[in-house]
Amino acid sequence: MTGPIADPASFRDPAGRVYRAGERILRTVSPEIASDYEQVRASGLIDDLVERGWLISSDTADLAALDSLDAALGDGVHAVIEHPRLPLISYPYEWGFLQLRAAALLHLDVHLAALERDMTLCDASAYNVQFLGAQPLFIDLLSFRPYREGQFWEGYRQFCEQFLNPLLLHAYCGVPHNAWFRGRIAGIPSAELSRLIPLRRRFSKRVLTHVVLHAALSKSVHKPKTDLTVDAKQAGLPKPRLIGMLTGLRSWIDGLAPAGSTATYWDDYSQFKTYSDDETGAKHDFVRRFVADVQPGMLWDLGCNTGDFSMTALDGGAGYVVGWDNDLGALDIAFARSLEAGTRFTPLYGDACDPTPAQGWAEQERAGWQGRGAVDAVLALALIHHLAITNNVPLEAIVSWLVDLAPCGVVEFVGKADSQVQGMLGLRDDIFPDYTLENFLGLLGERAKIVERLSLSPGGRELLWYDARDTSAG
């Protein structure tokens, strides 16, 4: 029997620590912040935010109900709290523009609500926001502390690096934040962004303040001659100014959109509505049948695009759907539609050929695709030809990877006769003699049972429902 496992990302703030005990999520509160914590609790802020759906709920863990190893967490700590387990942990470099913007706005709203009750946030980490479907949710209970008059916004730099600057990079420079943020998990420094902001954007008061001046000041204090120190508490940031900063940032961020996008581009997803033809309709029926039969708690839709089949999977009875795609425009549409419908579908930026790696401290702080919990079922529609033909991944490797990722799923094989594959091969040699439906069926059949297949177009597209849970098939 193993005891609770400390979450590898929960070590920075000594105020407490998060543990996983089986399926349960427990959080300890250190004695050092006991009085702060009780003040926050007594203020009513926590209940208010939970009621608004902004903050993850928390209960005092019933230590008596835990087994002895888990209950040992209670030794020497002020309190042990239990949170509901989220279906998925995702990271800001996996979010599209709209997701990061929604997370930033939530963070500011939570901070403003805290200040109303004379509480504040001691940090501004984007990793403290998670998504339940498309709803952003603040998850760090111990970020709340009593506010002292004149106190600076300690998380300001972190807010800029992890929310504001990545959004500005996309909005003002036309460069999505994802690759850079993934390459530097602390976010994008103002000093670096400041060098990239186009001239015509530089002279707005907001950019001058939060980017240019912020960068210049941060740089100047790195110089070795700046050795003078005073207690900044003497100066302080009056509360109305802090609130002004937060509301100013809020209205700025609320108005940001990816460069080159029209204001309504993510609203107009009707063109992506399904059932445009018989083939698509048949595909949806197939997926719905599969999901209804398998009833997956967690389904991954690889290459989810705007989420058509993710929605169908939810309709069919999937508990939760995570969609991955590398088209950020499509992801914004998928996010907007999930938000509007209030579904349990979270679209994320990712690429099967370049999946999110495990990284951060000891390469464990932020999980890769593999560390994201069990995937019960997978959809891989119009994906295999991209892996095999565009990225030269051998069919055998694709089959192994897919079956290892999820024990059952629906996979679409797009043959060489298909116009899209023809287009892919148009400018290169056909070095894929093994890329045939027969070959793919043979490889998949070795690893799993083919429960059902459907030919969508002769010699072209074929849907395959595989199930590897029945070991006699393999």
Partner: protein
């Protein structure tokens, strides 16, 4: 060309802002106790945003800076560690 009152006021405010931009260049205040390093530049910026009271402190910083340059104050080295994620 005659400038409207509004334009003049806007330009003056922008100029005042640019002056503020270069003022606190050399100062480095110590920050409050926190697990997260807020970044000295980020605190300085908030001193400026803090307004009049903050300007007094910035002025005081320069006074100390001047004294330091003249060798009247003892120097205390300070470095800013890289930011942290959580």
């Amino acid at each position: 060309m005659r400038l409207s009152k509004h334009t003049i006021r806007r330009r003056a405010s922008r100029l005042a802002f640019l002056v503020l931009l270069v003022l606190p260049w050399l100062a480095a205040p110590k920050t409050a106790q926190a697990y997260l390093d807020p970044g000295t530049g980020s605190i300085l910026l908030q001193i400026i945003i803090g307004g009049v009271a903050g300007l007094g402190v910035v002025g005081k910083l320069y006074w100390h800076r001047l004294r330091g340059l003249l060798g009247l104050d003892k120097k205390e080295p300070q470095e800013e560690p890289p930011s942290a994620v959580k």
